[in-house]
């Protein structure tokens, strides 16, 4: 790909197709690291994962290893996990609590704030050899939304609030339906030999696959009963800045998939009335319905099932999946455990739904090894004429949750960012309402 490649050539929202090369080509992947992952707001951790001063969690922004660390003043800093001396990672733990990190190679130490401190055998340096203030690992910008810690390395990027835009109208019903949320202790990590976008686009809008692909998993969780017939009425795709939420309004399908009657009753008796009070009837009907969500570029979750995950890119043909369980802080302990067990039964590498997904995405990716195969297009035309105006729902709205609309808008945002030389080149493709939904 040359520097002036127009990445919109890889998608066509009028004819409804996507070029397969975006799931395979190394050059496109390298451009993604620069244009998508080095620009976007990335998920680092949930507040509850690093509650105390000196707590840290290591993750990746694109392929850049970073440490998210809680400071003494309660704020969070995010910085590169790479020693500025010879480059080695200076933290090899997934998480923990420490006052400092010390690089194994020469013994350079870094505070919990990421600043370079003492060097082992520092006397080998002469006065003036090193200005420590200039040789600390690069810091990222950090902002939070309702317990979710985000970071970006792009100084010019819009604020997180602007990045999420009206999508918070939807996010609020997940992350603030009855006070603060928290993650269950732990976090399951696995490799899938698939392009990272296949995971994201599945959660952003692919209700369709559930009917066929997850029939066996749903039967396992629902006493042998499969999905009912696909209902296309009163269900929607909503897209904002490349984020997407597909949902029904029947109320309970995703809660049923979690498989716990106690949790189902809790949603009916506690969660839904709270959402209705706070956000109105429509959102209380949306929460818990058959639904799936992705936040651009690589975060997904399932309201009602309560899995939360991030798809970390590992080259064009591999991703690292990190899975968490999200609950409300004020839930009784037994409800938290019911949710976690159901979430684990369904969505982890051993989950009765998850284990079917990885198979598909690896297959989607691997076939592109064929030169002729990857010149062929993929069909993304489902529901292409169903865009509507909706008086309550913000974003770009399509009727019918069995639709490729959110996927199409995800790839549009992808191409917008892949092309952009500056943020002023990135169009806002929906009409913001500027509604203040948070209290």
């Amino acid at each position: 790909m040359s520097n002036n490649t127009d990445y919109h050539q890889f998608i066509d929202n009028k004819e409804g197709w996507v070029d397969r090369r975006i799931f395979w080509e190394e050059e496109i992947y390298e451009r993604e690291l620069k244009q998508i992952f080095a620009k976007s707001w990335q998920f680092i951790a949930h507040d509850s994962m690093i509650p105390n001063a000196n707590d840290f969690y290591t993750t990746y922004m694109g392929e850049d290893g970073v440490i998210g660390a809680r400071q003494k003043d309660g704020s969070v800093k995010v910085f590169l996990n790479s020693c500025p001396h010879r480059g080695n990672k200076f933290c090899f733990a997934d998480e923990g609590n420490t006052r400092s990190f010390i690089c194994n190679y020469h013994g350079w130490s870094f505070g919990i704030d990421g600043k370079l401190g003492a060097l082992a055998n520092e006397h080998v340096y002469d006065e003036g050899d090193i200005d420590k203030d200039k040789w600390s690992p690069k810091q990222a910008r950090v902002e939070t939304y309702k317990g979710l810690i985000f970071a970006t390395f792009d100084e010019q990027a819009p604020s997180l609030e602007e990045w999420l835009g009206d999508f918070t109208w939807y996010l609020d019903m997940m992350f603030d339906n009855d006070g603060e949320t928290e993650f269950i202790n732990g976090g399951i990590k696995s490799y899938v030999n698939a392009n990272w976008k296949f995971g994201v686009e599945n959660f952003i809008g692919d209700a369709y696959h559930a009917l066929w692909n997850h029939d066996s998993g749903l039967k396992a969780m629902n006493n042998g009963e499969g999905f009912g017939p696909a209902v296309t009425e009163n269900s929607f795709h909503a897209s904002v800045n490349g984020h997407g939420w597909e949902f029904g309004t029947d109320g309970y399908a995703d809660v049923v998939i979690n498989g716990s009657e106690k949790w189902l009753n809790y949603v009916r008796d506690i969660i839904k009335p709270k959402i209705k009070d706070k956000y109105g009837e429509l959102r209380s009907n949306i929460f818990g319905s058959l639904a799936s969500v992705s936040i651009f570029p690589n975060i997904s979750f399932l309201p009602g099932i309560q899995t939360f995950r991030v798809w970390l890119p590992r080259g064009p043909k591999k991703l690292e999946l990190r899975i968490f369980t999200i609950v409300n802080k004020n839930m009784p302990e037994d409800i938290k455990q019911e949710i976690n067990n159901g979430c684990m039964m369904t969505f982890n590498p051993a989950g009765v739904l998850e284990m079917d997904d990885g198979e598909n995405w690896e297959g989607n990716t691997a076939v592109n090894k064929g030169y002729i195969t990857r010149q062929e297009k993929l069909h993304y035309g489902c529901g292409i004429t169903r865009q509507i105006d909706h008086e309550e729902l913000p974003g770009i709205i399509y009727k019918g949750q069995f639709n490729d609309a959110n996927q199409r808008h995800f790839y549009t945002r992808w191409a917008d960012l892949m092309n952009a030389e500056s943020w002023s080149d990135v169009p806002t493709r929906y009409t913001p309402r500027h509604t203040k939904t948070t209290k």
Binding site: F92, A93, D94, E95, G96, N97, T98, I184, N185, G186, G187, I188, K189, S190, Y191, V192, N193, A194, N213, D215, S216, G217, K219, A220, M221, G224, G226, G259, E320, I323, F324, T325, E333, K336, Q337, N340, N341, M344, M345, N348, P349, A350, V352, E354, M355, D356, G358, E359, W361, E362
Partner: protein, 177 residues
């Protein structure tokens, strides 16, 4: 520490050890041949089948996982039956063609416990999984089991599996370990 564990851990007789080995080999064979109903019959009704999540932490930050944390498996009989049901729905597309697996059980140690009808069994499980055209996956883990004698028959009452892998290296865990 050493004295305490030596005192409570009484190595089982050769006869019992042999019986436990036969039990574990049979279990491995049933899993390889996908005879899951027969496998469920080898478990007690109050089975706890557990494989916790893994993180790497500094030694100073070490914590043991609990059943309240995330886990690959944290199953009672009800949940194990759900997994077996999935394979028998006729719509479990990813298992057709079937996964091929070989369970190798080794390093078996049997200890008596405070309960006369329960035994603690350590073993190493190695599973080679081959699936689809040419995919081969290796999983190696340490198992700690409680076996209980019920009506003269040994049954598996508890299993904890600790896999060596930190990041689980495969897309799915579709075999029991």
């Amino acid at each position: 520490m050493t004295h305490l564990s030596e005192k409570s851990a009484v190595a089982a007789s050769m006869e019992l050890t042999f019986e436990v080995e036969r039990f574990l080999y049979k279990e491995a064979r049933l899993l390889d041949t996908e005879e899951f109903k027969a496998w469920l019959d080898m478990l007690t009704e109050d089975i706890h089948y557990w494989m916790p999540y893994r993180y790497q932490r500094y030694r100073k930050n070490h914590v043991e996982p609990t059943v309240n944390d995330q886990s690959y498996y944290n199953d009672d009989m009800h949940n194990l039956k759900r997994r077996v049901l999935r394979n028998e729905t006729g719509t479990c597309w990813s298992e057709d063609p079937a996964t091929r697996s070989s369970h190798v059980v080794s390093n078996i140690e049997v200890e008596n416990t405070d309960k006369p009808d329960e035994y603690k069994v350590y073993s190493l499980i190695t599973v080679n999984r081959n699936m689809n055209e040419d995919e081969e996956h290796l999983m190696v883990g340490h198992r700690t089991d409680i076996l209980r004698r019920v009506d003269g028959q040994l049954k598996l009452a508890k299993r904890k599996i600790i896999l060596d892998q930190n990041i689980f290296m495969n897309k799915s865990l579709n075999v029991f370990l």
